[in-house]
Subunit: 186 residues, 2 copies
Amino acid sequence: MDRKTELLNCAENVARRRGYDGFSYADLASEVGIRKASIHYHFPSKADLAVALIERYADTFSDALAVIDETSDIASDRLAAYVQGYRRALSGGAKLCLCVAFSISRDSLSEEALAELEAFHSNSIIWLTKTFELANKDGSVTNTGDPLEEATTLLAIVVGAQLVARAANKVGDFDQATKLFLSRLA
Amino acid sequence: MDRKTELLNCAENVARRRGYDGFSYADLASEVGIRKASIHYHFPSKADLAVALIERYADTFSDALAVIDETSDIASDRLAAYVQGYRRALSGGAKLCLCVAFSISRDSLSEEALAELEAFHSNSIIWLTKTFELANKDGSVTNTGDPLEEATTLLAIVVGAQLVARAANKVGDFDQATKLFLSRLA
DNA sequence: GTCTATAGTTTGATAGAC
DNA sequence: GTCTATCAAACTATAGAC
């Protein structure tokens, strides 16, 4: 693995634990094993690093949604996989979705990073809305309402469940917060 | 208003916008109009300030829940008021609930602050569970499931809705994320 | 690509005068 | 209670050698 990827992995890990304002080049340097000045060769400024982080995260996320779509044609399967993805990202209560962690740090982010952040959530809403529209057709989800409202609600549930689970330091809180929704799936 | 309260107000405001790692004594000093060294007289360390912030916030929150309980005996009224409280706290997309903002900064908080944070969420769950139990009796909420699951889900919804609305910089996202739940209220 | 060295700023915090 | 002065440490970032 090349250094740049190694730095991105390390930065993503620490950013998802502590937020944008909660980590520094010194943290990355000590963990990757190079001097912090050397990091500036790969990412001239911390703002560049933030953009690179969000971009890569959004790409990975987008790929994951594509895989979900390929794996099953049933809306309930897709939604269950979506929730499961956020549960995995929680990493036992230690981490959050990168874009959740960065949302708090809004005021410290560059305009470019903010735009990527907004695009990330907007893409999530699009995919979820599409999937709830499918649910209305295939009947795999009980009691479905307006697809856009369902989509925004589910996004809030998984994001909020991550946060509450992290705050309480109890992974079980994520499961408790998503159980009611999952029970609507076929 | 005394200085200490003034400092707490200012600190709460900035902490709810930027998180614990996102503000400093310098920020408070410039806004309140005293030197940052003077702040240490009121709050010897930033950790002391964090604890004072969470304590005051939890007290205010607890009072607000008591007022809700006094205002109506109907579960759906109480839950609507609860959601409305989180919407107000969002402050047009600029702020989050203090405990949401601090949840991201977990790793920077003292043990004492963490304990208060966990107590805050645990108290929320207790109040919500109690209110959903009432809903099961008074029938003011349609389609109710297990009170504890409903409680944790609703907490996740309001917390997640705040976060998504702030990330997207659109207050409307909060309304969209809570609309489906609110439609279940009488 | 990585290093040393360093600049310039900001951080949380303390000592002591008033 | 608030001030000035100061501290040691951490921060992002740059210059230039290798």
